[in-house]
C-alpha cells in the first residue's frame, strides 16, 4: 500500500496513513527484526541492571558492630566543619525563622524544628552544620524519602513515624546505633517510646514526640448540657452508656453534635475505632503477628460508633478541616483531634475551651498515638564521621524535646520532661498528662503497617458510608489482612 495521494482534501487519510505505511511482507520482515531488537534490548537492560545497584549496601552483623566502634572512635576534631543533611516533614518557614535561635519564639511545628536546627548550627560545640534536604509537602514526604533511599542518597538524619520505621530497619536501610554512647538516655522515655525505637533487639531511632487524640471541648456547650463540674472541668463519661447519655443530653439541650471528627478522607474516625479496640485490651494484630480484626472487641467498638451515627450524635460528612470548622462554629460539643492543635485553640478558640483525655469508654484508658522519631539512613560510604555528627544532632534534639513539646502541643517522650514544671505550666498540658504517660498506644510494629491499616480502614468506611454490616466488614477485613500478612 503506497502512501495516499495528496488530494484536495488530505484530512481524512492523514491519521491512518502515517501509521500504515508498509506492506504486509515488509511487516513480517519488520516483525522478525522487532523480536530480535526486543531481545537485544532486554539483554542490554538486564546487564545494565546487574551492573547498577539500587539502594545502599547491606552490611552483615560483624560490620555493624565495627561501625559502632568506629563511630565511638570519632574524635571531636574530625567532627569540626562537617555538614550533614536532614530531611523532615513540618513544612518550610525560612522566612520567619531566618537567623532565629531562640526556641521560645516558635509558634508552630515548622518554626520549632527550624529554630532548633538553627540553634544547633549556631551553638554546637563540634562545629557541625545541618542542612535541610528535600521539602515535599507532607503527603509526599514518604514518596520523596523512599525515592532518596532507593537512589542511594538519603539524608544523613531523617524524620519517620513509629509505624514505618521497621520497614526500613528490616531492609537494612537504617543504622543501628548505641544510644548510650552519644549520651541519649532512652531509659528516661516512656515504655511505649522505648519499645517503639527498637527493632529486632537493636535501637534504630531516637524518639522525638508522640501525638495522640484528645477531646477538645467547647465548655459553653457542654456546660449548657450539664456536664461541666464544679471545678470547671468537664465530666467525661467512663462507659459507653454514659457516653450515649451525654450525647443525648447535648442534643436535647443544645441541639448540637456530641463529637466533630474527620470521617471523610481522614483518619480521625479510624483512630477513634482503634482507641476503642485498645481500651478493651485487644489489638488488630496479635503479638505473634496474626490478624485479629474479626473480634468481639472490634465489633463492639464499631457498634458503638454506629449507635452514635444513628442517634445523630456524630455525622460522617466532614473531613479534617470541615470538622474543625464545624466545632469552631459552635455546632458540636467536642472536637476529636490531636495534640498538635492544643496551643492554637488555647489561644484562639472563640468560646470556653478545655482539653481532656479521650474518654475511656470501653475499659482501660487507651488512645491511638503515633510518634515522630529520628533515624539515620545508611549511606553508600558508611562514613562513621557523618554518622557520629548525625547522632550528635539527634542527641541535641532528644535533649530539646521539652522545647518541642511546649511549642507544638505534642507529647514529649521523656518522662522527666512531662513531669517537669515548665511543661506542666504550658496551656492545658496538665490535663492530658495521663494520656502522655500511660494511655498512648502505638500501632503494632509489623511489616508494612500502612497497607494493613488501609485494608481495615477501607472496610470501616464501607460500614460508615455504605452501611455495610459490621460482621461482614470485619470478616472481610480479617481475611484481607491475613492475605496481606502472609
Amino acid at each position: 500500500m503506497t502512501r495516499p495521494a495528496l488530494t484536495g482534501n488530505p484530512n481524512p487519510a492523514a491519521l491512518a496513513a502515517v501509521l500504515d505505511t508498509t506492506s504486509t511482507t515488509e511487516r513480517k520482515h519488520m516483525h522478525k527484526k522487532k523480536i530480535a531488537g526486543a531481545a537485544a534490548s532486554l539483554t542490554a537492560a538486564a546487564l545494565l541492571l546487574t551492573a547498577c545497584g539500587t539502594g545502599t549496601g547491606t552490611e552483615g552483623g560483624n560490620a555493624a558492630a565495627d561501625l559502632t566502634e568506629q563511630i565511638a572512635a570519632v574524635t571531636d576534631d574530625q567532627l569540626d566543619g562537617v555538614t550533614i543533611t536532614m530531611s523532615r516533614m513540618f513544612g518550610d518557614c525560612e522566612e520567619t525563622t531566618q537567623g532565629v535561635t531562640d526556641p521560645s519564639l516558635a509558634a508552630s511545628e515548622c518554626e520549632a524544628i527550624q529554630i532548633l536546627t538553627n540553634q544547633f548550627n549556631d551553638e554546637n560545640e563540634y562545629g557541625i552544620t545541618v542542612e535541610r534536604l528535600g521539602g515535599a509537602d507532607w503527603h509526599s514526604y514518604y514518596d520523596a524519602f523512599n525515592a532518596s533511599v532507593a537512589g542511594g542518597e538519603p539524608a544523613d538524619i531523617a524524620n519517620l513515624h513509629d509505624y514505618s520505621m521497621s520497614d526500613y530497619a528490616q531492609r537494612d536501610q537504617l543504622l543501628a546505633f548505641d544510644a548510650e554512647a552519644v549520651g541519649i538516655d532512652l531509659s528516661d522515655s516512656t515504655t511505649q517510646a522505648q519499645s517503639s525505637v527498637v527493632y529486632d533487639g537493636d535501637t534504630y531511632a531516637v524518639p522525638f514526640d508522640s501525638h495522640a487524640i484528645l477531646a477538645h471541648i467547647n465548655t459553653d456547650i457542654l456546660g449548657a448540657a450539664g456536664y461541666m463540674g464544679e471545678d470547671g472541668r468537664p465530666i467525661m463519661p467512663t462507659s459507653a452508656d454514659e457516653l450515649l447519655e451525654m450525647a443525648a443530653a447535648v442534643k436535647e439541650k443544645t441541639g448540637t453534635y456530641l463529637f466533630s471528627l474527620g470521617v471523610a478522607n481522614d483518619d480521625m474516625a479510624w483512630r477513634m475505632f482503634y482507641s476503642l479496640v485498645r481500651q478493651q485490651g485487644s489489638d488488630v494484630v496479635s503479638a505473634d503477628g496474626e490478624a485479629q480484626i474479626d473480634t468481639p472487641e472490634a465489633a463492639a467498638a464499631l457498634e458503638l460508633m454506629n449507635e452514635l451515627i444513628e442517634g445523630g450524635y456524630i455525622h460522617t460528612d466532614a473531613d479534617y478541616a470541615g470538622s474543625i470548622d464545624e466545632w469552631k462554629d459552635g455546632k458540636s460539643a467536642i472536637l476529636v483531634n490531636g495534640t498538635w492543635v492544643v496551643n492554637e485553640y488555647a489561644a484562639t478558640a472563640p468560646f470556653g475551651y478545655a482539653v481532656a483525655d479521650f474518654p475511656a469508654l470501653m475499659g482501660e484508658p487507651a488512645v491511638w498515638a503515633s510518634s515522630h522519631m529520628w533515624v539515620l539512613p545508611r549511606q553508600r560510604d558508611d562514613d562513621p564521621v557523618a554518622y557520629r555528627a548525625a547522632l550528635e544532632f539527634a542527641s541535641f534534639l532528644y535533649d530539646n524535646t521539652d522545647v518541642w513539646a511546649v511549642a507544638t502541643g505534642h507529647i514529649a517522650p521523656r518522662v522527666s520532661v512531662v513531669e517537669s514544671a515548665a511543661y506542666q505550666a504550658a496551656p492545658n498540658r496538665e490535663f492530658y498528662t495521663s494520656t502522655a504517660l500511660d494511655a498512648i498506644r502505638f500501632v503494632p510494629q509489623i511489616d508494612n503497617w500502612t497497607a494493613v491499616k488501609d485494608l481495615i480502614h477501607t472496610q470501616l468506611e464501607e460500614v460508615w458510608f455504605n452501611g455495610k454490616d459490621v460482621a461482614a466488614a470485619l470478616g472481610e477485613a480479617q481475611s484481607r489482612v491475613e492475605q496481606q500478612l502472609d
Binding site: 491519521l15 496513513a17 502515517v18 501509521l19 519488520m30 531566618q98 537512589g151
Partner: protein
C-alpha cells in the same frame, strides 16, 4: 467569510431571506438581537464555568484566620494581599520561578526541535525500519508515567545526576506526543514545496531548516505550549529528583511551604500559592493563544 455565513445559515436560517408576505425583514436588527442574546448566554456560561477559579481568587485574598471560620463566600472576607505577597517574600521563590523557567524553556525548545526533525523524517523520508520505530514511539504514548518512573529514577541516581537541570530536562524531551503532532503536520505539506527546493538545489538539511521549519511554525508553537504547560506543572519527577531547596521548581517549592494540616490553618495562603504558581502559564497562554488555535488547525489535518 464562508464560515461566518455558514454559521448564520445554521443559527438564523431565515435571516437572509425576505419574508413571504413581501414586507422587508430588517436582517441586521434580527441578527443583532440574536447576537446579544448569544453574548449574554456565553458570558453567563463562562462565569459559571470559571466560578471555582473566581472563588479561589477570592479565598486567596481573604485572611487565613477568617477562613478558618468560614469559607462560603464569593467576596473576600477581611481583604488582604498578605497571602499573595507572602508567596513572594519567601526567599527562594524567585529562584524557584527561575528554575521552572529554565527547565520549561529548555525542555520546550529542545523538544520542539527534536520532534520537528523526527516528525519530518517520519513523514517525508522513506527508510527501512521507519514503521517499526514510529510504531514504538507511538506506543510510548500509552506508557503510564507514574508507574515507570522508578527505573528512570534509579538510572539517574546511578550516574549521580539528580539535583541538576539536566535530570529535569532530558527525560522530558522524549515526548511521543510531540513526534506524533509533527509527523501529522509534515505529512500535510504539499509535495511541491520539497520539489521546488530540490530543484533549487537544496539538500535535506537546508530544506528542513530553511523551508520546512518556518512552515511548521504554527504546529511548533502548539507543541511548545503543550510542552511548556506539562513541564511547568510537573510535580512528581522534580519532587524526587531535585531535593535541594535551591533546585526546587515552583510546583515543588510552593508545596514545600505547606505544613501539615495546612488546609485548616492557612487556606488563603494555599490558594494564593496556587494562583501565583500558575500565573506565568496564564500570561504565556494569553500571549500565544492566537497561534495555538491556528497551530492545532494545521496539525489536525487542516488546510
Amino acid at each position: 467569510m464562508t464560515a461566518v455565513s455558514q454559521t448564520r445559515a445554521l443559527i438564523a436560517p431565515g435571516a437572509a431571506r425576505p419574508r413571504k408576505d413581501g414586507r422587508q425583514q430588517v436582517p441586521g436588527l434580527r441578527r443583532a438581537t440574536a447576537t446579544s442574546w448569544y453574548h449574554v448566554a456565553m458570558i453567563a456560561a463562562t462565569l459559571v464555568w470559571l466560578l471555582p477559579m473566581i472563588w479561589m481568587t477570592s479565598l486567596a485574598l481573604s485572611d487565613n484566620a477568617a477562613l478558618a471560620q468560614e469559607t462560603q463566600f464569593l467576596i473576600p472576607r477581611d481583604f488582604t494581599l498578605d497571602n499573595l505577597l507572602g508567596v513572594f517574600s519567601v526567599g527562594l521563590t524567585s529562584r524557584w520561578f527561575l528554575n521552572s523557567a529554565i527547565v520549561s524553556i529548555l525542555t520546550t525548545v529542545v523538544t520542539v526541535l527534536l520532534c520537528a526533525m523526527a516528525g519530518y523524517a517520519f513523514a517525508r523520508i522513506d527508510f527501512r525500519g521507519k514503521a517499526i520505530v514510529y510504531g514504538s514511539v507511538l506506543a510510548g504514548l500509552m506508557i503510564p508515567k507514574e508507574a515507570m518512573f522508578v527505573p528512570l529514577f534509579t538510572m539517574v541516581a546511578d550516574v549521580q545526576m539528580h539535583n541538576t537541570y539536566a535530570a529535569l530536562i532530558l527525560p522530558r524531551i522524549a515526548a511521543p506526543l510531540g513526534v506524533f503532532l509533527m509527523t501529522q503536520f509534515f505529512s500535510q505539506v504539499p509535495q511541491e514545496v520539497e520539489e521546488a527546493a530540490r530543484i533549487d538545489g537544496a539538500g535535506p538539511w537546508r530544506t528542513f531548516f530553511f523551508i520546512m521549519l518556518p512552515l511548521a511554525r504554527p504546529a511548533m508553537i502548539a507543541l511548545a505550549i503543550f510542552t511548556f504547560v506539562q513541564t511547568w506543572n510537573d510535580y512528581l519527577w522534580p519532587l524526587v529528583s531535585a531535593t535541594r531547596a535551591e533546585m526546587f521548581t515552583i510546583t515543588t517549592g510552593l508545596a514545600s511551604l505547606q505544613g501539615n494540616f495546612a488546609q485548616a490553618t492557612e487556606l488563603g495562603s494555599l490558594m494564593a500559592r496556587g494562583l501565583v504558581g500558575s500565573l506565568p502559564l496564564l500570561i504565556i497562554f494569553l500571549l500565544f493563544q492566537r497561534h495555538l488555535i491556528r497551530g492545532i488547525s494545521m496539525t489536525s489535518g487542516g488546510k
